[in-house]
C-alpha cells in the first residue's frame, strides 16, 4: 500500500510552547544533552522551534517556526550519503535512515538546508528517571551516527500493520506523530496526501500555504500555513 505522508504546520496556531519538542523527545528515545552541551549546539532534538524576531513599527513580534525534517521529495541529504544510510522510502515517501548503516560522515547534515539532522556526539544517556520511559518500539541509536525526524515511523508502521490485519485501509487520523498528537492548539496536521478525503489533502489547498526555502527545489513534504494579518492576531 502506497502512501505519501505529509505534515502541515499552521503558524497562525503555533504559540511556540514547545510541547511538540517534548513529545518528540519522549517518543523517539532522544538522549538528553544537558545545558553545557546544548550551548555547544549539541542538542539532540529532532524537532526544534526556531524563533525569529520581527519588528513591526513600535512592536517586536516573535515568530515561531517548528522545524522537523521536511521529508523532501528531492532530498539533498540522500544523494551525498556514501553508504545509502539515508534513502528514500518509496512506499511511504519518507526520507528514512538506516542507523546501523550510518558511518557518520555528517555530509547529509551539511547538505540539509534546514539543518534538522542531529548527530550522536556521545553515547546516549538519560537523566534519571527519564531512562525508565524509553519507547520499546524503536532503537536507541549508537554513538557516531546521524539521526533525524522520521514522522514517527514506528507509528506509521504500526498503523499499516493494524490496517492490514483488519483488512482495511488506514483511516485518516489513525496515524499521528507524537508532535501532532500533543500540540495543544492543534497546529500540526498530519496525514496521507494520496487519500483525497484526508484533512491534510484539504489543508494543502489552503491559500496560506508556503514551503520553507522553496527556491532550493527540495520539494518538502512538510508545509506551512502563513500567519494571518489583521486585528486580534
Amino acid at each position: 500500500m502506497k502512501h505519501k505522508w505529509a505534515m502541515a504546520i499552521d503558524m497562525d496556531r503555533c504559540t511556540g510552547c514547545g510541547a511538540c519538542v517534548v513529545a518528540c523527545v519522549a517518543e523517539n528515545n532522544t538522549p538528553t544533552a544537558g545545558e553545557e552541551e546544548a550551548g555547544k549546539g549539541r542538542l539532540m532534538q529532532w524537532l526544534r522551534v526556531s524563533r525569529f524576531w520581527k519588528k513591526e513599527g513600535e512592536e517586536t513580534r516573535a515568530i515561531f517556526v517548528p522545524t522537523p525534517c521536511m521529508h523532501c521529495e528531492k532530498a539533498p541529504c540522500e544523494i551525498v550519503c556514501p553508504v545509502y544510510a539515508t534513502y528514500h522510502d518509496e512506499d511511504d515517501h519518507l526520507n528514512a535512515m538506516v542507523y546501523n548503516r550510518c558511518i557518520g560522515t555528517r555530509y547529509c547534515a551539511n547538505n540539509c538546508p534546514y539543518s534538522v539532522r542531529v548527530f550522536n556526539w556521545w553515547p546516549a544517556k538519560w537523566e534519571k528517571p527519564l531512562d525508565e520511559q524509553l519507547n520499546p518500539d524503536l532503537s536507541v541509536r549508537s554513538r557516531g551516527v546521524m539521526e533525524k525526524c522520521t514522522y514517527c515511523i514506528q507509528r506509521i508502521r504500526r498503523g499499516k500493520e493494524t490496517a492490514i490485519k483488519e483488512g482495511r485501509k488506514i483511516r485518516d487520523g489513525e496515524v499521528m506523530p507524537a508532535c501532532a498528537q500533543t500540540c495543544p492548539p492543534g497546529a500540526i496536521i498530519f496525514g496521507d496526501l494520496l487519500d483525497p478525503e484526508s484533512e491534510i489533502s484539504r489543508t494543502v489547498k489552503d491559500t496560506r500555504l508556503f514551503k520553507l526555502m522553496e527556491h532550493l527545489g527540495t520539494e518538502p513534504s512538510t508545509v506551512y500555513l502563513k500567519k494571518q494579518k489583521g486585528p486580534g492576531r
Binding site: 549546539g41 526544534r48 544523494i79 556514501p82 545509502y84 557518520g104 534546514y114 532550493l216
Partner: protein, 461 residues
Amino acid sequence: MNERNHLARQGEGKLYEELSRSNLVTTKAWYRAAGILFAVTAGAAGVFFYMMATGIGVTGLSRPVMWGTMIILFVFWIGLSHSGTLISAILRITRAGWRAPVLRGAEAMTVFALMVGGLFPLMHLGRNWRFYYMIPYPNDRLLWPNFRSPLLWDMVAIGTYLTGSILFLYFGMIPDLAVARDFSTGWRKKLYTILAAGFRGTHSEWRRYHVASTLFAVLIIPVAVSVHSIVSWDFAMAMVPGWHSTIFAPYFVAGAIYSGIAGVITVMAFLRRVFRLENFLTERHFDNLGKLLLTMTLVWGYFYFAEFLTTWYSRLPEDWALISSYGGHFLPLFILMLTCNFLIPLPALCLSKVRRSVPAILAVSLVVNVGMLAERALIVVPSLARRNDPSIWLNYFPTWVEISFIVGSITLFSLLYVIFAKLFPVMAISDIKEHLFRTTDRAVGGAVVPSVAEEDEGEGK
C-alpha cells in the same frame, strides 16, 4: 670548471655517496630526530584513539558546524600534495634543464602528504571502525556504496592519485636504486636488488625508461588536476551557501599548486641543509621555484578576487551573510589568510634578493602554508557556521584534540620523510648525472659560462 662537473666524471659511486649521504651511515642525530617525531606522532595517534573511544564530542564540532579541523587538514594536505608530482611531471615534459635535483624530493612530498591527508576523512567519521562500508566489497545483502556521493568520488580519486604517485616515484627511482644496489652491502643490498627490478643500465633499458617516464608524466597531470577538482566538489556540490560555486574546482587546483610549491621549497630547503646538498640545490633552483610561487600568488589572488566579486555583486542574502562574517567573527582568520597568502608573498617574491636567499624564501614558503591552512579553514567553517537558518548559527573553535591532530599531521609527514631519506636515494642521481655530463663550461670572451648540450630531435631517437 666547477666542482660538480668533476663529480660526474668521478663515477657513480662517488656521486651516490655525495647525494645520498643519509643512506650510508645512520647518525645519532637521525635517531634523535626520528625519535622525537615518532613520539609526537604517537601522541597524536593516542589522542585519536581516545576520540574513537569516547566520541566525536571531544572535538569542537556542533550542529551547524559538522565539519571542522579534520576536514580542513584533509583539504590542506591533499592540496599540499599536489605540486610534487605535478611540478615533477611538468618539468620532465618541458625538459627544464634545472629540474633534476628537485624531482625526487617533490615526488616524495606528494606521496607522504597524500598519505597524511587521506587519513583525515577516515578519522573524522563518527564510526571510524566502519569505514569499509564505503568500499564496494561483495556482501550478502548486495549493498553497494552510493556512487552519487562526492565522498565516494573522493575515495576513488585519492586512491588513484596515491597509486599513481607511488608508481611515479618508484619508477623514477629505478635507475638510482640500481646504483644504490651496486654500492651497498648487507640488507640494503638485498632490498635494493629487489626494488631495482634487475635494471642494468643497458642502452635499450634506458630508451624504454625514457619513453615510459614521459608517458607517466603526461598521464599523471590530468589525474592531479582531477583529484583536487573532486576534493573541491565535496563542497561545491553541496547546497551550502558559500560552497555552491562553480569556481571552486579551478580555485582549489590553483590553491593546491600554490601551497604545493611552497611545500616543495620547504622540503628542498631542509634537504639542502640536512644533506649538505649546496652543490646541487643551488640558489638558481630556489630562484626558479620562487618565480613559480610568485606566479601562483597572482593566480590565487585573482581567483579569490573573482569569487568575491560575484558574491558581492549579486548580494544574495545567504551568501552575503557568509561574506559579512569574514568582517565579523572570522576577521582574524581572514586577515591572516590575506596577509600570508598575498600581502607578504607578493612584494617579497618580486625581489630577486629574497628569491635567491634560502632562509628568506623558506620563510615566505612557511608563511604561504600558514595562509593556506587559514584559507582552508575559511572555506570549511564559516559556510557552515552561517547556514540558511539564522536561529542555529554558531561559531567554532578547535579543541585540544583537534590541535593535537594539526601538530601530529606535521610530525607524521616529517617522520615519513625522514624514514624515506634514510632508505632511498633522496636525489635523482641518474638525472643529475645526465645533466652534469651534458654541462660543460665554455669560455665566452673573458667569462666562463656553463652550457648544456641538448639531444638532437630527429632520426635515430
